[in-house]
């Protein structure tokens, strides 16, 4: 561990908070229809889109209508993405397929389409050997925007459900939680597009590439043949991070120097991932009319986030059993960070890799700048734990907030039981119907993750995805568990040895998808994305028209330290109870024993 390492972590937490506060205020203005600074620029495309779509953004929808619009929009997005990816060769006339790549097979494409529409960005394919520039732009970049926007609008709808006061009541709008297309268009035009444009330019300034050139082929300094992939990277990289998508332009994702060229770009990328999830918490406090409610949730998230970062950094700085057995000294020395540099890049070092890893696994981003599979047992248990907490520590854009609000309602309910009062939250009574929906919404994700893992572990077809060259015993189980935990949480990071597309790296000859892994993964992602969304919208729908009762002496406060502790307890308890047995079999046994396991070798 080094001083600059701890300094990076501290500077990150402070910068994030300072940037999220004003963005939270700005987004509150965006979603309450107030004037914002971008109005003069965006007003025209906004109106033009409303006219094209024939929507009146001021006409409210009840939760069922909102959900129907959302599901149909996602369905259309899925179909268009699938078609774009499967028809890759048809678009060669655009000049955006200089390497003349053919489409990936149907099973891999099913997985990829499901992955990008659900904001997961799990990748069985390898970007630079599979996809044309056209597919990356018109297919994936588009979904990076719209899938992120879908997550955000659900959070906004749930906020409205909680925030709406009984005095707003008039017959037509009583059950309204907003207008789906109004929220969607405003999210894209006023939040995602401007920020990703700025971040994209910053990344090019740091060295990310942005061109349509064919791949470079030449002989290097020692006359060996070299090839370098090219492409419109920065534009996709920016929204990949901002929308907590995480799907790399290249196979090695943000470890690739063209995606993440410097220590500074690494810092900017990490901020880009967390900025919207963090800001939305402050937006929430403002929209419910009590900023302290937002601060309480932010504190909860930040405490759990920093805990994860500290554990991961200390574990990675200590080094791995394999390194020590081979005779390496892993202490920091002059001119070297020391630690477990296996699968890590020199320019990021241990701290920049550990922090990036936690940033992208607490959120549903899933970008990686280092190989998670090569993390130490305890360091690798951290992303596991983050996924097990169901992505509520900041979480995905929007999905983090609507998921933690379900936990907040559960904590309020448990707290209410403990003091013997009818639980209420921000003036609204939490009753049997809400708690049933909340419980279902919370349990769906672990259920999908564990069932899929069980199926994949117990079947020969499922075990075909394990990378037997390096993974054996607990490592092999970790690969499988991580794969389905990641897909169920719509995260997308991976123990990258696990595969659903054999032989696709290199020239592609003889490559084929593993149908079992592709389909099970795809369905896990779809189910675990849309079921919780429907439950969250249903909760919004039942809360929106509830009468508000004034806070009395017996009301449990939800904006103080006691509630933060209760909320952390509830999140840890649910996560630990559901996942601890599975985690024991994988990373924890590796971290605690230091035992070395065999493998077939490469």
């Amino acid at each position: 561990m080094t001083l600059s390492g701890w300094g990076t972590i501290a500077a990150f937490a402070v910068s994030l908070t300072l940037l999220a506060l004003p963005l939270g205020r700005y987004m509150a203005a965006v979603y309450t229809g107030q004037w914002t600074v971008l109005e003069p620029v965006m007003r025209h495309p906004e109106r033009w889109l409303y006219r094209l779509l024939r929507v009146d953004p001021h006409r409210g929808q009840d939760w069922r209508s909102y959900a129907r619009s959302l599901i149909l929009f996602s369905l259309a997005g899925w179909l268009i993405l699938y078609l774009v990816l499967r028809s890759q060769g048809l678009w060669n006339f655009t000049g955006l397929n200089p390497m003349r790549f053919a489409s990936a097979p149907w099973n891999v494409t099913f997985n990829t389409a499901s992955s990008f529409v659900t904001n997961t960005n799990w990748q069985y394919y390898s970007g630079e050997t599979t996809l044309s520039y056209f597919s990356q732009m018109a297919g994936l970049t588009v979904q990076n925007f719209v899938s992120a926007a879908v997550g955000i609008v659900v959070a906004v709808a749930l906020i409205r459900g909680i925030a709406k006061r009984v005095t707003d009541r008039d017959a037509a709008e009583a059950n309204s939680i907003g207008n789906f297309y109004g929220d969607l268009v405003r999210t894209i035009l006023y939040v995602l597009l401007p920020i990703s444009t700025v971040v994209g330019i910053v990344l090019i300034w740091q060295g990310s590439i942005q061109n349509f050139s064919p791949y470079l082929s030449f002989t290097g300094v020692t006359h060996l043949a070299q090839r370098i992939a090219m492409g419109p990277v920065a534009s996709q990289e920016a929204i990949k991070l901002l929308g907590t998508n995480g799907g790399g332009f290249f196979n090695t994702n943000s470890a690739h120097p063209f995606e993440n060229p410097t220590g500074l770009s690494n810092f900017v990328e990490m901020l880009t991932v967390l900025i919207i999830p963090a800001a939305l918490v402050f937006t929430y406090g403002r929209m419910v009319g009590n900023r302290r409610q937002g601060y309480a949730i932010y504190t909860t998230m930040m405490v759990m986030f920093l805990g994860a970062v500290i554990v991961c950094y200390v574990a990675e700085a200590h080094g791995s059993p394999a390194q020590h057995a081979a005779g390496l000294h892993t202490a920091a020395i002059a001119g070297s960070s020391g630690g477990n540099m296996e699968g890590k890049e020199q320019r990021f070092g241990i701290a920049g890799s550990a922090l990036f890893n936690v940033v992208t696994t607490v959120t549903s981003c899933g970008a990686v700048n280092s190989a998670i599979e090569s993390f130490t047992g305890i360091g690798g248990a951290v992303p596991f734990a983050n996924l097990s907490a169901s992505e509520v520590i900041f979480g995905g854009v929007g999905s983090g907030l609507y998921s933690i609000l379900l936990y907040v309602l559960l904590a309020v309910f448990i707290g209410g039981l403990m003091v013997g009062r009818t639980p209420e939250y921000i003036g609204k009574k939490i009753e049997a119907r809400e708690i049933k929906l909340v419980a279902l919404g919370i349990l769906i994700t672990p259920l999908a993750a564990l069932l899929s893992t069980a199926l994949a572990t117990a079947s020969r077809a499922g075990r075909a995805s394990i990378d037997t060259a390096v993974a054996h015993g607990p490592q092999a189980f970790s690969e499988t568990l991580y794969a389905y935990l990641s897909q169920a949480n719509n995260n997308g990071s991976s123990f990258a040895g696990y595969t659903g597309y054999v032989g696709h790296v290199g020239n592609g000859a003889g490559s084929h998808g593993i149908t079992f892994a592709d389909l099970l993964g795809g369905m896990t992602m779809l189910f675990a994305r849309y079921a919780p969304i429907l439950f969250a919208l249903a909760v919004a729908g039942t809360l929106v028209s509830k009468r508000v009762s004034p806070a009395g002496l017996g009301t449990m406060r939800t904006d103080n330290g006691t509630f933060v502790v209760l909320l952390i307890g509830v999140i840890l308890l649910v996560g630990a109870l559901t996942f601890f047995p599975a985690l024991l079999l994988g990373p924890i046994v590796q971290g605690l024993t230091g035992h070395l396991y065999p493998g077939a070798g490469r």
Partner: protein, 220 residues
């Protein structure tokens, strides 16, 4: 609400977004990038005497083909290579063939694996075999910096640690008949510091360093 009408609206919206976000947005960023940071946007290509030899950001292999009876020796369709002692060597790579920046790949060596231990031990042995005889007092596994034995993430890490470079400097200086101080000065020149003074680790750009050496002493 009519489901068919609503679905048509969804398709219209998606088509509009494909045009705006999938085509216009990347084109605008490309335009700005090509105008404001042309060299970066095209990958910081490095030319020597008009010939493309690499990118500043992409690590490449500094091994030379092994010749037998005047012909390059082949194994499994690929030329057999060994590290060229005149050059600083990049980090071990999980990309195959090594340093192929058109098909990058993680190595995915697990922390508790005998496979990993063997790979690291082999990397240590190769590093000592290459540098040991030039290093004052000799090299042991304990003195090998972690980045020289651990596989990089991208497989094309352009940088090595300063400690790693300073060990290799003894070899490069001896083979090229340069003073150690000259080589160390070049290392310092091609070391990039931490972002904003704190973010990340200093790294030595191997391609730039090796090309500077070639300019100083010629290829031999």
């Amino acid at each position: 609400m009519n489901v068919r009408k609503e679905f048509a609206r969804a398709v219209t919206a998606m088509v509009a977004f494909v045009v705006a976000l999938g085509l216009l947005y990347p084109l605008v960023i490309t335009g700005i990038g090509q105008l404001a940071f042309r060299d970066n946007a095209n990958g910081q290509r490095i030319y020597v005497h008009g010939r493309l030899v690499g990118s500043k950001l992409i690590g490449q292999s500094f091994a030379s083909p092994v010749e037998r009876n005047g012909r390059p020796e082949m194994s499994g369709g690929a030329p057999v290579t060994r590290p060229d002692p005149r050059y600083f060597q990049t980090r071990p790579s999980g990309t195959s063939p090594a340093d192929n920046a058109a098909a990058t790949s993680f190595a995915n060596y697990g922390p508790n694996s005998i496979v990993t231990e063997r790979v690291i031990a082999a990397n240590i042995a190769a590093y000592i075999a290459l540098n040991g005889r030039y290093y004052p007092g000799g090299l042991t596994a304990a003195k090998v910096p972690v980045d020289a034995a651990d596989t990089s993430a991208s497989g094309i890490d352009p940088d090595i640690s300063v400690a790693n470079a300073r060990i290799q400097a003894h070899r490069v200086a001896a083979v090229r008949h340069l003073s150690l101080a000259t080589v160390n000065a070049l290392i310092a020149r091609y070391t990039s510091g931490r972002g904003l003074g704190f973010s990340g680790e200093p790294g030595v750009d191997v391609l730039e360093l090796n090309l500077a050496l070639d300019r100083l002493t010629g290829r031999n």
